[in-house]
């Protein structure tokens, strides 16, 4: 039932979300549009209150400006019931808005960060000062076997497949960030961070390191290559030839 | 450069003397500092069962002796306050000196204890437990020494019959330092 309420509310804000974000940053994962819709919802809610507040603000400044005619201001304590209402009613309405935002945010968060749907495949992401190594399971679809393909600064995945990632760091904190997936996860040395994503669009986009990691933090970009099944199979058949990406 | 006290210092809209408010503020900030340190230690200790083995090498006799020394010195601080309340600056000063002697004894015992531990290879970088051990006890010891120094200054003033209200204030600080040790002792020496 919660999912039904979530889907209903998401449906309302999805088109605006597309306009706000997707027009500039493609939607390339299964949960990207959830995040876009949430951002759109928050934009509408806070935008509404901001417009109200600004309207009141500028109106009051204009209406009660000193006209130089010697007239006096009113003596208002703010405890008058009829005036206090102007504060307490919006106060209550904002709480309602917050409840909706909290509900939607938790649903989105749960889907991306608390759940781990069954994986079609797993990739290992190794971050270090200042580069990325990506270990892909080869044709046997198992990591840590002889046919694994390790690339440097280029991650190859197949559209429509659900991936688990194992994120590691060799030294300091890094962060695996893929804007078109709307995905981020800090990498912590000494731990294996687990998460998931499902690419939904073929193409090639930026991978960023989104946690300060030293002098080379700014040259730690990589690329994610989302391929159609045919392209992916063709790429995999090359094996670990030592042919590294151009970055 | 001597200076007369501002009128502000002598007012008390709350009824609590300003000096006492100030000491409580200082203690408040220290509680949060030690609290943060000890909370971090406890979190680590829970997550590292092997620390129990490391902790077994602390010497409960030394720790116990220091606990006794500090508690006794706190008693002396109470006696100093009692004397100050009755206007006897010279007696208050003597009891403050005794308290200080307790602090000095504490520091000496600690110095001996640490020398023995370091000579056995239990240094601050040996492992996480010993890092916390030396850091927490070390910061505490610094507070003991600082307290002693301030106490000596107040004792000198009390001997001359001046600022007797400060005897109580440094006593409050000293009790706090004592209480921190009451927390450290079980955490570092008893939990094994």
């Amino acid at each position: 039932m919660l999912q039904g309420i979530y889907d209903f509310i998401k449906g309302i804000f999805e088109p605006f979300g597309e306009y706000l974000i997707a027009s500039n940053v493609p939607v390339a994962s299964s949960f990207a549009d959830d995040i876009d819709a949430l951002i759109a919802l928050i934009t509408v809610f806070v935008g509404f209150w901001a417009i109200l507040a600004y309207a009141a603000f500028f109106f009051l400044i204009f209406r009660f400006r000193d006209r130089g005619d010697g007239s006096r201001a009113q003596y208002v304590t703010g405890e008058e019931k009829n005036l206090k209402r102007w504060i307490t009613y919006p106060h209550a309405a904002i709480i309602v808005c917050d409840l909706v935002i909290v509900f939607m945010a938790i649903m989105v968060w749960y889907n991306i960060k608390q759940r781990l749907p069954e994986a079609d495949s797993t990739v290992r992401i190794i971050s270090q000062q200042w580069a990325w190594n990506f270990v892909h399971p080869g044709p046997d679809n198992e990591l840590d076997t002889d046919d694994d393909i390790t690339t440097f600064n280029e991650l190859h995945v197949e559209v429509g497949k659900t991936y688990h990632y194992e994120l590691l760091s060799k030294d300091v904190l890094h962060d695996f960030s893929v804007p078109v997936f709307r995905l981020k996860q800090d990498a912590i040395p000494g731990r294996v961070m687990k998460g998931w994503f499902e690419p939904t669009q073929a193409g090639e986009w930026d991978i960023q390191c989104a946690e300060m990691c030293g002098i080379g933090h700014g040259i730690m970009g990589a690329r994610i290559v989302v391929e159609t099944p045919e392209e992916h199979a063709a790429w995999m058949s090359q094996g670990n030839t030592g042919k590294l990406a151009s970055r | 450069m001597s200076m007369t006290k501002p009128i502000a210092t002598t007012r008390s809209a709350t009824g609590i003397p300003t000096g006492k408010l100030a000491v409580w503020w200082v203690i408040g900030s220290e509680i949060v500092i030690f609290g943060g340190l000890l909370a971090s230690y406890i979190m680590h200790r829970i997550g590292h069962p092997e620390w129990a083995e490391y902790a077994s090498h602390t010497n409960t006799w030394f720790g116990g002796a220091n606990t006794f020394v500090l508690l006794t010195s706190s008693l002396f601080a109470v006696l100093a306050h009692y004397a100050a309340e009755h206007g006897d600056g010279k007696k208050a000063a003597k009891w403050l000196l005794a308290t200080c002697a307790g602090g000095a004894t504490f520091a000496s015992i600690k110095a001996v204890e640490w020398s023995i531990e370091i000579s056995h290879g239990y240094t601050i970088t040996a492992n996480g437990f010993w890092s916390f051990y030396y850091t927490a006890a070390g910061i505490h010891a610094l507070h003991v020494i600082a307290g002693c120094i301030i106490m000596l200054i107040i004792a000198r003033q009390a001997w001359k019959g001046e600022e007797l209200h400060r005897v109580e204030l440094i006593g409050i600080y000293w009790h706090f330092v004592d209480i921190v040790w009451i927390f450290l002792f079980p955490l570092l020496y008893i939990a094994k």
């Binding site: 703010g78 106060h91 909290v102 300060m212 | 300003t18 200082v26 850091t135």
Partner: protein, 577 residues
């Protein structure tokens, strides 16, 4: 003569207490003074100098971003490492050596005794000591830029293992000096806090009850308490980080059983209340200005006070919203989303109460009022954009992007910069006995505010496009390289804004010596500081300290001849002005 120095020099008016020396040397009057007004001004001038340094840093790194690789006039080429140091120290300086000293220590020190009718702080020598420690901390921080290896570049958040290990950060000396400087600054403010709370609680004028205290003082003291209650764990963390850096312990080293995330918790447990530590004094300054310039009481003083307390208390329960994707238990994220959205409620209410104060007023748009009103308008944007970050789901996308950066500049800039300009344009007459030039004030205001928005709205757009933080050159990222026009726009706006500050500096310096004499109460305000001379002499009221008969905001009281009623005027007497 109307310099701050006369505050301690007037010979004739030494009735209240005699220091046993009448001629104070320059050193004891200005450098080693224990007078709260001088100490306040010392903090203020130090803060202004540090703001210029921090501003210079933003100039250098924004020039690098707009014109990557090119030599920056007045700096040179910004290397990768230098870029990181510039952004790190810009942030560190602006929070710890500008916002805090100016809002809390400068205005707090200057105003608290004056506004409660006292002759000084309770512990003047501790007050002096706190400034001296503060100054030393500033010097140590600046020294860190000039040591071999350069200044620390691990971001103002200083996460280990990067910050703990010189092999990773490549700035061994700079990292440690940075850490020591920050720790000393904390000690300075803990010492300063002793005076704020004891003086406000105990040294009030006879008759001044709790609800007669001007809002700015409440806010400064609540902020002091917040600071004291939150900084302890970070001091503990700083000791641990220092030990890791210098002694070789492994508190935060995962290879030795340590935990990098522990630092994050210790840092943000302080870091989040810290933003309210600086926000509340700024809001307090705004409260005292909007009441004076709309001739109205604060709308529901008690409710505003409760929202301030509520904000302070809740602020201890929201910290991990900075760590949503940092590797905390994902279930905890939901808790912190809820608490973070909850804290938005009292703050929104506070803003609404301030806007409501304008209702029924007679609003004069003098320069201080322009700044106070613009605080509300700009902070509103900062506040609402925080919602996107406090909601865990959307934070996954926005974390560590320029959206965060724009959000906190729309909060911090109103707090530190607008708050400062509001306070200084309002209290300058009391501090220096002269008026600032109104026309220059308005030119400075509009130039600053308009350009400020043109700096940071492009950054919201860039953040929404996915641009991440602390990157020295976006041409390395194909998906982001094309947005260079927005970066150039932001940098150009920054250059304009920096240029307009020259108007303020000129106005400030010239008016201090040549401004129109101010008299005691140029704004016709109620609070007690306006009953002392401008500037007040040593001891503030040599003729005798005032009593308090009413609240601070009794403006436009029906039936009275004047539209203000100073706190020190006995009842049923016409106001003395």
């Amino acid at each position: 003569m109307a310099e701050a120095g006369t505050a301690v020099e007037t010979h004739g008016a030494h009735g209240a207490h005699d220091h046993g020396h009448h001629e104070q040397s320059f050193l004891s009057k200005y450098i080693f003074s224990t007078d709260h007004k001088i100490i306040g001004l010392q903090y203020m001038f130090t803060g202004i100098v540090m703001a210029l340094i921090g501003g210079y840093m933003s100039y250098a790194f924004r020039m690098q971003l707009a014109f990557p690789g090119e030599s920056v006039p007045g700096y040179g080429v910004v290397s990768q490492g230098e870029y990181n140091s510039l952004v790190t120290n810009h942030g560190t300086i602006m929070i710890f050596w500008v916002a805090m000293p100016v809002l809390i220590a400068a205005f707090g020190n200057f105003l608290i005794p004056l506004m409660i009718g006292a002759d000084d702080m309770v512990f003047p020598r501790i007050n002096r000591l706190s400034y001296q420690i503060f100054l030393i901390s500033a010097i140590i921080l600046i020294a860190s830029f000039f040591v071999p290896g350069g200044g620390f570049g691990g971001a103002w958040t200083a996460y280990p293992p990067l910050s703990a290990n010189a092999e990773y950060n490549l700035t061994p000396l700079g990292s440690t000096l940075w850490l020591v400087a920050v720790a000393l600054e904390f000690v300075a403010f803990l010492l300063g806090g002793i005076n704020f709370i004891t003086t406000l609680m105990n040294s009030r004028a006879p008759g001044m009850k709790m609800h007669d205290i001007p809002m700015v003082l409440w806010m400064i003291v609540i902020a002091s308490v917040l600071f004291m209650a939150s900084v302890g764990p970070l001091i503990a963390g700083a000791v641990m980080l220092f030990m890791d850096q210098v002694v070789g312990t492994g508190y935060f080293d995962p290879n030795r059983g340590g935990d990098p995330i522990l630092w994050q918790h210790l840092f943000w447990f302080f870091g989040h209340p810290e933003v309210y530590v600086v926000l509340l004094p700024a809001m307090g300054i705004v409260a005292d200005i909007i009441t004076t310039f709309s001739r109205k009481k604060l709308f529901n003083y008690k409710l505003i006070l409760y929202t301030a307390f509520a904000t302070g208390i809740i602020s201890f329960f929201v910290w991990a919203h900075h760590q949503f994707v940092a590797g905390i238990d994902p279930r905890m994220a939901n808790v912190f989303t809820i608490t973070t959205l909850i804290i938005s409620i009292p703050i929104a209410e506070m803003l609404f109460l301030y806007i409501a104060t304008l209702y029924g007023g007679r609003i004069r748009l003098a320069t201080p009022m322009l700044w106070a009103l613009s605080f509300i308008a700009e902070f509103l944007i900062g506040g609402i954009t925080g919602i996107f970050l406090g909601a865990s789901g959307s934070d996954i996308y926005f974390h560590d992007t320029y959206f965060v950066l724009a959000h906190f500049h729309y909060t911090f800039f109103p707090i530190a910069i607008i708050g400062f300009f509001a306070g200084i344009t309002y209290w300058f007459p009391k501090m220096f006995g002269r008026m600032l030039n109104e026309r220059l004030g308005k030119i400075h205001f509009w130039g600053t505010i308009i350009s400020f928005n043109f700096i940071f709205i492009p950054l919201f757009v860039l953040g929404t496009a996915g641009q991440h933080r602390r990157i020295y050159n976006f041409q390395n990222f194909p998906d982001l390289a094309g947005l260079q026009d927005l970066r150039v726009l932001a940098t150009t706006a920054l250059l304009v804004m920096l240029a307009f500050q020259a108007v303020f500096l000129f106005n400030f310096v010239v008016s201090m010596f040549k401004g129109k004499p101010a008299g005691k109460n140029p704004w016709q305000s109620n609070t007690l500081e306006w009953t002392a001379d401008s500037p007040p002499p040593h001891g503030n009221w040599p003729e005798g300290l005032p009593n308090c008969y009413r609240g601070p905001y009794e403006y436009s009281v029906p039936g009275r001849e004047e539209d203000y009623w100073p706190q020190d005027v006995p009842p049923d007497t016409a106001p003395a002005e």
